[in-house]
């Protein structure tokens, strides 16, 4: 049965190819083969960038300090600086310095669909590289490692995650912190009540107003909220961690040429130590728009990731 189906499909295919089409296909093949600039045929994203003359970067609007809009509504940040290096590498690879860079804001909800349907070519933000997500997209080498932990008031008796037992805490809806917390409750025999803020500032407001005892989230995001608070000294981040998660740029799957270029570029930044300069600019110095300093030095986990560039996802 299968054999016959294959035959008829082949017959249909033959019928489809008219002479005109044959000429067009062979012409196209000739052009590609004859182009001396390319040692190998470009595929995937690199071919798309060559054909359109444009690389489209997906950026976030409020992922401070990774990718966000500054006071001039420009997309800036640590991830944007890293992506600028990727753009340079693409220009060199295609031997075309006139490649245009288009910017497309994305949200955590639409970043994957927009990448998959070709609206963006690379996402530069604060996206966790997880094994689950790798079924749908690919990631570059880890450029940041976060700990999921809790911020509390300095005056509070809570010093460890276990102290959260019996407390009400806030967290932001739709983040990976939510299932982690549920799992911790089950395994650690801890009972907490959660309130979900729609964004980080709302979750933090609940802590400021003493509506909750702690705000559970990625440490760097907690640091960002605290740095912007009226009295940053009132808050402290617990050093324990529910889980560490790697962040990286997001790429389309099964796109080996572009992936190799991104790996090479980011790996080079890490090997040369240049990435530490980029890091210092965004995490330990004052950044726009309000000139606050996150005071978030490189963690041991991140140093390890810089030493051994990898794209391993978290389970």
């Amino acid at each position: 049965m299968q054999h016959r189906a294959g035959l008829s499909a082949f017959a249909a295919f033959i019928k489809e190819i008219t002479l005109k089409r044959l000429i067009r296909i062979s012409l196209a093949a000739f052009v590609v083969l004859a182009a001396p600039a390319f040692a190998q045929t470009l595929t995937g994203t690199l071919a798309k960038i060559r054909d359109t003359g444009t690389i489209t970067i997906g950026h976030r609007e409020a992922s401070i300090p990774f990718s966000y809009l500054d006071d001039k509504q420009q997309a800036v940040g640590y991830a944007m600086d890293i992506c600028a290096r990727v753009v340079d590498a693409v220009k060199a690879e295609l031997k075309n310095p006139n490649i245009k860079v288009a910017l497309q804001p994305v949200t955590s909800a639409n970043r994957i669909p927009l990448l998959q349907n070709g609206s963006i070519d690379i996402e530069c933000g604060s996206t966790t590289n997880s094994v689950d997500r790798q079924k749908q997209v690919a990631f570059g080498p880890t450029y940041f490692v976060i700990n999921v932990t809790a911020a509390v008031k300095k005056s509070s008796p809570i010093k460890t995650l276990a102290d959260l037992n019996g407390r009400t805490i806030s967290t932001t809806a739709g983040t990976t912190a939510v299932p982690l917390l549920k799992k911790y409750e089950k395994t650690g025999n801890v009972d907490v009540k959660e309130i979900y803020g729609k964004d980080h500032s709302e979750s933090f407001l609940l802590l400021v107003d003493d509506r909750v005892s702690a705000f559970v989230m990625d440490d760097v995001l907690l640091a960002g909220q605290i740095a912007n608070a009226r009295n940053p000294g009132d808050f402290v981040i617990i050093t324990e961690s529910l889980r560490t998660e790697p962040y990286s740029v997001m790429l389309r799957r099964e796109d080996p040429q572009f992936k190799a270029l991104v790996d090479r570029t980011l790996g080079g930044l890490m090997k040369s130590g240049e990435i530490e300069k980029l890091y210092a600019r965004w995490f330990t110095s004052s950044i726009p728009p309000r000139n606050v300093n996150l005071n978030f030095p490189i963690t041991p986990a991140l140093r390890e990731a810089f030493k051994n560039p990898n794209d391993k996802g978290v389970q």
């Binding site: 955590s108 909800a109 639409n110 994957i112 669909p113 998959q116 349907n117 070709g118 689950d132 997500r133 749908q136 009400t168 809806a173 739709g174 983040t175 990976t176 939510v178 299932p179 549920k182 799992k183 089950k186 009540k193 959660e194 309130i195 979900y196 803020g197 729609k198 709302e202 407001l205 107003d209 003493d210 509506r211 389309r252």
Partner: protein, 245 residues
């Protein structure tokens, strides 16, 4: 490029285990229905009273009714939700003590129900007023002529006809109310849209999750629509405005 849809995602377990995604959406649906039903009762109750008193001849009552409608109608729903949940407890210390001690879901449900109920009551009040004012002046005169007092006049003559007239816009309002419950996600109430977004974030299957949510919302709104249509037919006064074909 291009993406494939995977509908089996609803049969997958959540990362924390033990619960499936379809169950998670369903748990959101119950909150949606709960908020919608309770706030509809609040909206009908206050909407009827406020709408009615705006058609009376008492100056203070009319003023109160106007103030009510303008207050709840002129502030965006999203802002009202924020005010009820985040700001009001800060202003009223006893309320704050209760909110901090209570189960978060209870406080969110209460805030969302009150907020949506009162917001919608302002809109229903306008419809009730329009319904009453659309009645011929003769009805009011006739009621007074046969010796009914004001309450009896509204109860037995004006309101029964006014309600029949406003069933179509009331249907729209009910359907709006059901869909407006999704605003409650901004205060963290785990209703249907909240759960849908959560599911999208965990599985990265936004299209599947939102398609399911869309179908569920359509189903609820259509059900409400059909129920109201039945009420409209059943209560029609033969030969009078409503239900005449």
């Amino acid at each position: 490029m291009g993406f494939s849809l995977d509908w089996s995602v609803f049969l997958q377990e959540l990362p924390e285990g033990g619960v499936y995604y379809w169950e998670m959406l369903l748990s959101g649906l119950w909150w949606t229905l709960g908020v919608a039903a309770c706030s509809w009762l609040i909206a009908m109750f206050f909407g009827s009273i406020v709408g009615t008193i705006r058609t009376t001849r008492s100056q203070p009552l009319v003023f109160f009714g106007n103030a009510w409608v303008e207050l709840f109608r002129n502030i965006p729903l999203l802002v009202q939700m924020f005010l009820w949940y985040f700001v009001l407890p800060e202003v009223i210390p006893p309320l704050k003590r209760w909110v901090v001690a209570a189960d978060p879901a209870e406080a969110q449900f209460l805030s969302a129900t009150l907020c949506l109920g009162l917001f919608t009551s302002a809109r229903i009040a306008e419809q009730v007023r329009a319904g009453i004012q659309s009645l011929p002046r003769g009805q009011r005169d006739a009621a007074q002529a046969i010796g009914l007092d004001t309450v009896q006049m509204y109860r037995f003559v004006l309101l029964p006809m006014a309600y029949r007239i406003i069933i179509p816009p009331l249907t729209s309002e009910t359907m709006n109310l059901i869909k407006n419950t999704s605003i409650a996600l901004t205060i963290g109430l785990a209703e249907l849209t909240f759960r849908t977004r959560e599911m999208g974030e965990y599985t990265f299957r936004f299209f599947e999750a939102f398609t399911a949510a869309t179908l569920i919302y359509i189903a609820i709104a259509m059900t409400a629509n059909r129920v109201m249509a039945v009420i409209e037919r059943r209560t029609a006064v033969p030969g009078y405005i409503a239900g005449g074909k």
